[in-house]
Point group: C2
Chain length 342, copies 2
């Protein structure tokens, strides 16, 4: 069933539970590493034929039920006026972190059709190649997660500068988040116009905040993004890690599907969120490196906890890690299909 | 009331809510930085007069209701056979990480009275100086948190090698955790014998695990530690971060007080854990750097959520950060006392 993923997003009955993996295209695949020998990550993102090829790799290799655009959540930052590079073994480095009024004012709200034309071309190319056989997910980083990279200048574990700006200059925070909200909204709408059939909003690091802070500093800027996407009729997945204290407020903020990491059993997620939203997750990505028996037990536990009501999309609790054996990814895809087929 | 902290641990009525801060002695204090100009962190830990002086600094400066031994959770690793150093800006580095059977077998179960005699001397010295006016908390890292440092070789964000050993070689994991459990137990018992009047078990990183993994890989080794401490009659605080999916199983594992980070409102903690355990926490440490009004609102929220039932110890949700103004720490201590006095 080609649209099993889209049907599950809408909580319609499916012939088997759909499966895809966050970071399903990437370093763990030899096909990808071969391309990376010749091109940087950003070069792949910016050349639609390469982005198309890489996006298709896991679809061809593993038979997953959705393709996800090969891109990076930080891509909009460059045309906004905050260019960056990827440093090996370290992650992204923003050349000029944004930490004051001048920094925020310098950021421009982009026109994604023009400023990220290469993404839209990739989406059109991928749709052509997929030829209606597998749906394509587009995605973007949520305003908080983008803000944290902009302010910290890269990856962070404690988000000291981010919270300092948030608590210390709430008005400036609001200006920054408003710009990022606008960019995220426009970028996702453009992806749908180009052909994305579903979307995922990555608010990967928002689990650093308490629910009270979420309500004050995040929701006012994130809700408009989800609200604007409703008109597209495209299902939207709302994902974060470490969100066990935020699930209800995330649902209230928006999304047809709520993604949870491996810390929250999906039966708890179901109980807390009710049956009017689909759920996605949530195998611990480390289990893909575990012995077979333990991996199988982990997959079975996720399916058991997800239950039999419609509206479960099988995924990891976070992205695939670089040292994952591709065979395990394929095996899990097949097992989930086999064990849930009816 | 000198024993307000100990009384709160036992859920007895108090004249005001007791306050102490994780990492209340440390880099944010000018008095401490002055000593660090001449001595490394490990040198301070190993010279009882210096450890005593540093332990007393926040008691004298801020009037907190408990002193906590100045030490590092990794100290037992050196006599166990896994020496380490602290690298500026990076954290601890274990010279020879433990990743295989040989590594685990090489680790010895220490005799803390002898192998960590300097800690016991510091405890005796601090007790003398405190002279019954303020109680002293001893502490240790929990087996999982120690194991993660041993296996990763330092700080980690994803715990890839730790989970790989845990899932991949559960028997070897059990051997390692058994040794660490034994060491933690002996070390804490020795601290009580030397004069510690309360204990905190830091399982700082255990929130990386699902509850199912906690039950299989953590509890069998951690519960014996808490069980053994019962005989001492000394109250024990069980602390971790990111534990909102683990609270109940942590309580089941042991401790008179459960510590929570800022992500879980304390009224939720109370509701989930019931009234037969005390709670500690949980101001976001970043708020100590926030404007006054916001800091005050944060403190008020913690007190409101903690409610009026006995058994709340005010603390942060994690350690004080290096750039914290000491005046804010003193102010929070005084505000909590003032706002809860009766």
């Amino acid at each position: 069933m080609w649209d099993r993923f889209l049907r599950a997003c809408r909580r319609e009955p499916v012939d088997a539970t759909p499966v895809w993996f966050m970071r399903q295209a990437g370093r763990y695949m030899p096909e990808y590493r071969k391309i990376r020998e010749r091109f940087t990550l950003l070069e792949i993102c910016k050349q639609p034929e390469l982005a198309t090829e890489v996006t298709l790799q896991p679809v061809l290799a593993h038979g997953v039920d959705a393709a996800i655009l090969f891109a990076d959540i930080l891509l909009p930052l460059e045309p906004m006026g905050a260019p960056f590079e990827f440093v090996a073994g370290e992650g992204p480095r923003i050349f000029e972190p944004v930490r004051d009024r001048k920094g925020v004012e310098r950021l421009r709200v982009i026109d994604p059709e023009e400023d990220l034309a290469y993404v839209m071309q990739a989406i059109r190319g991928i749709r052509r190649e997929l030829d209606g056989k597998t749906p394509l997910i587009g995605f973007a980083g949520a305003p908080f997660t983008l803000a944290s990279y902009l302010i910290e200048g890269g990856k962070s574990s404690q988000f000291i500068k981010t919270k300092s700006l948030m608590y210390g200059e709430p008005e400036l925070w609001g200006q920054l988040m408003t710009k990022l909200s606008e960019v995220t909204r426009l970028y996702l709408l453009a992806q749908v116009a180009a052909g994305a059939q579903a979307l995922q909003v990555f608010d990967s690091w928002v689990g650093q905040l308490s629910a009270a802070d979420y309500r004050e500093f995040i929701q006012p800027y994130l809700k408009p993004v989800f609200d604007a996407l409703k008109q597209t009729k495209v299902p939207v997945i709302h994902f974060g890690t470490d969100t066990s204290t935020l699930l209800e407020i995330q649902k209230e903020t928006g999304g047809d599907v709520i993604g949870a990491d491996w810390r929250i059993p999906l039966d708890v997620v179901r109980r807390r969120l009710g049956s009017d939203v689909a759920i996605q997750g949530n195998l611990d990505p480390h289990l893909l490196n575990a012995p077979r028996e333990r991996l199988h037990a982990g997959v079975r536990a996720v399916l058991r906890e997800a239950g039999s009501a419609p509206g479960h999309i099988f995924n990891l609790g976070h992205g695939i890690m670089p040292h994952t054996p591709p065979a395990a990814v394929k095996e899990v895809t097949e097992l989930v299909h086999e064990w849930t087929a009816h």
